[in-house]
Amino acid sequence: MPEALDRMTRFSPTHPPPGEMPRIKTGRIATLLHRNETLRGYLLMSPTLAIMTIGIIIPFIILLVLSFWTRQGFEFDTTLTLTNYRRVASEPIFGALLARSLWISGVATITTVALCYPMAYFVAFHVRRNKMMWLILITLPFWTSYLLRVFAWKVILGYEGVINSALISLGWIEAPLEFLLYSREAVIITLAHAWAAFAILPLYVSLEKIDKSLLEAATDLGDGPVARFFRVTLPLSMPGVIAACFLIFIPTTGDYITPALLGGPDGMMIGNFIQVQFGPVNNWPMGATLSIVLMLWICAIALVFLFVTRKAQERIA
């Protein structure tokens, strides 16, 4: 009897036979979105895209145009010219400043990544429980403002700071060490500390992703811990290393707070110079030119860096 009932409902007049099913209604926009994957992608991106256009691309264009202007007294001469670029290329002060900036942030980047790698490695491979807590603890310095951290280092490295007074009271030195503060080293130490979290997080993510059985496989195939690190762990964490390097190198090259507070005359960087151009000197076109030149240098270095790491990765295998 239930079977008969079932058969009846299946062929009841309210259910049209399969051939005459009502058409499924879809809106035109829905259809378009369903068919066009690119469009869907753009739609998803649109808020970001809008912010990027307004916040980055338009200012960048303004900066670019500005860099081809020149300053005439208190006015800007809006005729487009390469004068500023010629000055940057010919006057040695710009080159020296740029080279020093790239050097300082390059050393700071390498120092930071080298110091953070073991920490990230430890959390990824040796911490079993509460990994999140470890990561939060590591990024704890980031909970205070950048400026405060820089001042903290000033207190530590200063003429009568923590290190100097400690060393004097221990009797290891007679007079305070002067190179600690207002030097390139001071800038490098401060930058390395201030940007540590930017290195640890990408390094941790890339190390955490490494399949543990790959490490066992390398051991099984005869690699000791050192060989295994250079042949498997490091190459597989390379995306994290590259990301960490970029995340630190790019912002630190243009940084002006740390060099201004801790750098002294020797530690002055291009960022300070650009800030001065836009500020007291009131030579916006020159500041814009320097910003563009700095950007081009960073791009060039980034490309070379990417190329070299890729080659090295192929070689190491």
Binding site: S213, E216, A217, T219, D220, L221, G222, A227, L236
Partner: protein, 368 residues
């Protein structure tokens, strides 16, 4: 197998993880060139034992000897064993050639010789011309073969395989089983193979160790395990089995008789077991050891029953038959020899039929 001829010798080995005893006093010997399987359900300790052979886990107690050498002081990268991992662990940043040549670096061979060896391996695993493929361009079966080649190129004394066929689909798995067996015969390396698939273990192995709860229940050849299991656990883990309660009756005669529930008296030669009069035993009979017929067969041991259920499986049919004196129906698996079996699906419930068996098909076990 005597201790002296053993190539791998596991001596009273235990492994504790905290308070959990993963391996409980296991001893076994594996001969050189043998295809040896560790078989058991997940969590039985088989993978732990394999990882102890590889050196990834230390032994809490006992010692493992390979080629006469105690292994506990030897770190994994110095052991004369190589492993094929369950997920194959192919290095994603290297191509096929560099994956296979990975372990050769230590031998400091000239580049040309290394290439030559890799090409030989690719030939052996039937993937010639795959050297420059990226790891992510490989199918599951190809990855499995490359993991195999990567280990075999080092000519290890022992190859450890951790469920290497588990991730493959049925057809590919059966093909790889045959290839693996052929390869093992060709290279002559001792294989220790971990699997939870009893059919796979039976197909591939020279000998099998059945494991449960960290202990080894029985070590025997596939036929030995199947035909004369030493316990109910082994009997029911490998294939299907019908168990009957029985009692030994000795009337001074040479052969004992086992009074078996539902099946009556079955004579058993003394050579098969030695138990006193009145001892309780279990009689075990595989489903395919029964013959089934609609009429009374011309056999010494036969019993009449009624059909409870049946299923047609193509080459064979399964019947569930209730007999008097036993609550649980007997499982019978019959090859598709005749019309009666072929029509398995169409026999009505309670159809009377006859079961027969030969007395040497029975296995006598201690009661649980």
């Amino acid at each position: 197998m005597t201790g002296s001829s053993a190539f791998i010798s596991v001596r009273s080995v235990s492994k504790a993880f905290g308070r959990f005893l993963a391996i409980d006093n296991v001893s076994m010997d594996i001969a050189q060139g043998e295809f040896f399987s560790l078989l058991g359900a997940s969590g039985c300790g088989k993978t732990t034992l394999l990882r102890m052979l590889a050196g990834f886990e230390s032994t809490t107690r006992g010692e493992i000897f390979i080629d006469g050498q105690p292994m506990s002081p030897v770190p994994p990268h110095h052991r004369p064993v190589n492993m094929v991992f369950q997920n194959y662990a192919i290095f994603p940043h290297l191509n096929v050639r560099d994956n296979i040549a990975y372990g050769l670096r230590k031998q400091r061979l000239p580049r040309a010789r290394r290439h030559e060896m890799v090409e030989e391996m690719l030939e052996l695993i039937k993937l010639p011309g795959f050297g420059t493929r990226k790891a992510n361009e490989l199918s599951g079966g190809q990855r499995q073969r490359i993991a195999l080649a990567r280990a075999l190129i080092l000519r290890p004394k022992v190859l450890l395989l951790d469920e290497p066929l588990g991730a493959l689909d049925k057809q590919l798995r059966e093909q790889m089983q045959l290839e693996l067996r052929a390869l093992q015969r060709k290279v002559g390396i001792t294989f220790v193979f971990v699997t939870h698939d009893q059919e796979e273990a039976l197909t591939l192995s020279d000998r099998i160790a059945v494991m449960q709860g960290g202990q080894v229940l029985q070590v025997d050849t596939p036929a030995g395990l199947y035909e004369s299991p030493n316990s109910r656990s082994v009997a029911s883990f490998i294939g299907n089995m019908n168990f009957f309660r029985g009692t030994v009756r000795r009337n001074g005669a040479a052969n004992a008789i086992i009074e078996t529930e539902g099946l009556g008296a079955i004579p058993v030669p003394d050579s098969r077991f030695a138990r006193p009069d009145g001892a309780a035993v279990q009689v075990a009979l595989r489903p395919e050891k029964f013959a089934i017929s609609p009429t009374k067969p011309d056999a010494v041991h036969a019993v009449q029953g009624r059909l409870a259920n049946s299923a047609y499986l193509g080459e064979r049919s399964h019947f569930y038959i209730t007999i008097e004196g036993r609550g649980e129906p007997i499982a019978v698996s019959a090859p598709n020899h005749n019309r009666f079996v072929a029509n398995a699906g169409s026999h009505a419930e309670d159809t009377p039929l006859w079961l027969s068996w030969s007395s040497d098909a029975i296995v006598v076990l201690d009661p649980e």
